[in-house]
């Protein structure tokens, strides 16, 4: 299953992400962290006057899955309304947890991000794949009206031992 996951398209997103850059003057910006893996990213969006997402971008570092997932998500979110974006985040999380398996529907709605569905069989990596989506969803829910978010999403993803969350609220 991991074989199918680490394919050319996935690796291109991981190694040459189109949406990984520092956005100037974003409408919202939000930080997500997996403290125990060291995955961290800051996701930013610029909202258009019609209320849709005009531009999406992220910066940060982490494993290939967290980075590729963030890039695929960014591509998907352009031109979506916040409500549509939140629904897609929910759909992605259901897919990654193995609760939604309709491949045709997933590919239609999630586009390339549907290729991450095999992570449902890699429980240790679910938090990596979800990081960007959780971060975006939380940002949009926190900012359903206006303002810049600064809270931090924490997701422990080390599975060998139990841990307290060690990150600090930004």
């Amino acid at each position: 299953m991991a074989n199918a996951l680490y394919n050319a398209v996935f690796l291109d997103h991981a190694k040459n992400p189109d949406y990984k850059y520092q956005m100037d003057d974003p409408t919202f910006s939000h930080e997500g962290v997996n403290p125990s893996c060291g995955d961290e990213l800051t996701f930013s969006v610029r909202m258009a006057s019609d209320g849709t997402i005009e531009e999406a971008a992220f910066v940060g570092s982490g494993c290939a899955i967290s980075q590729a997932s963030a890039d695929m998500m960014s591509d998907l979110m352009v031109d979506k309304t916040p409500q549509e974006a939140i629904e897609l985040c929910e759909l992605f999380k259901r897919m990654i947890r193995g609760e939604e398996t309709d491949e045709d529907m997933l590919e239609e709605k999630l586009d390339e991000a549907a290729m991450l569905r095999d992570i449902a069989h890699m429980p240790a990596r679910v938090k990596c794949a979800e990081l960007a989506w959780r971060t975006l969803e939380e940002m949009l829910e926190n900012n359903s009206t206006a303002g810049t978010a600064t809270a931090t999403v924490h997701a422990a993803c080390d599975h060998d031992h139990d841990h307290d969350h060690l990150g600090e609220e930004a």
Partner: protein
Amino acid sequence: MLTPEQLAAIQASPFKADFPLLAKNPEIVFLDSAATAQRPEAVLAAERTFYETMNANPLRGLYRLSVEATSAIEDARAHIAKLIGAVDAAGKPQGSQIVFTRNASESLNLVAHTLPQVVNLGPGDEVVISIMEHHSNIIPWQQVCAATGANLVYLRLDDNYTITQDEIEAKIGPKAKIVSVTHVSNVLGVENDIPAIAKRAHEMGARMVVDGAQSVPHLAVDVKELGCDLLAFSAHKMGGPMGIGVLWGTSELLDAMPPFLTGGEMIDSVTETGAVWAPVPQKFEAGTQDAAGSYAFDACLTYLDGLGMEAIEERERLLATYLTDELAKLDFVEIIGPREGERHIGAVAFNVRDVHPHDVASILDMSNVCIRAGHHCAQPLLAYLGVSSTCRASVAFYNDKQDIDALVEGLTGVWQVFNG
């Protein structure tokens, strides 16, 4: 570099046949024994034997089954005492110095909750640990220091991954009341000079605690040679059952330490207003213990006796040397720790250039190679070394050269996935 004779000695493993999981799944390349070891058939059989032939609540029973269960636990204590050299002048194992816990973490928590009272730890006093501790030997002391006002002091490594004598003398001073250091690092695999640290600790009037979780399974450990006062380790890292831990202590210190958990089976008598503790080790064992686990750990030690700890140590040193040498040949792999293979007790940490350790572990899993990736419950060490996570391969005597060759082949595959 190993000689041809040494390579021949580790070419195959005659021991895998003794481990049902490895025997039934020959495709699995298990290189994560530092997290938990595989269990030999003798241990699995012993768990079953206990419940089939002597199942009763130990200690309190006045009938044959309970007496047998009690004696199974006491036999296990004696065997463990013998393993770690806890014997009297006549060579008699001191089973009463063996306290059963759930794991090394619980043993260390027991110490952290009880030893400070014995040494009257207070504001301005120092607890000295090392930067290479597992979280289980850090967080309990952070809590102790927060509660008592004592200061937590870290022994640090030099560029050669060594705690030098200068560092020992600089950090362990007259304010030190407790020194608690791991014998072998669970990340770097290096062995610390516990006798030197214990000597300095005692000169300064401090008590010496040793985390033996990564050493007792791999080395012929002798508490007298270590010179420590307390030693913690886990059964599951040496082939015994999960859920059995050990705390060894000198009789004088265990007698002085107050109970940790209280309740049934740890008292001599109870009144409305107080209780008289049972003698050690029962004083520290509240509630019904995992008697079957203790019995199975005893069986594990009998199995290891058949091989001999010295022979295990020698074979694992060859395996660790081969592992380190082969990793060093890969120009895209960076070893985190000493390059000298013989300095690695079981574990070697490394990273694949520009590939996150979790991706390395996931791709290796495609070829059934099991390694650990992450911070290994040693975040302060990784921060000190300037890395956020690493891969870690670790060997036990049941591994062989073919396991390590499979890892190397898998790592080459990882590199090709990311670099074409």
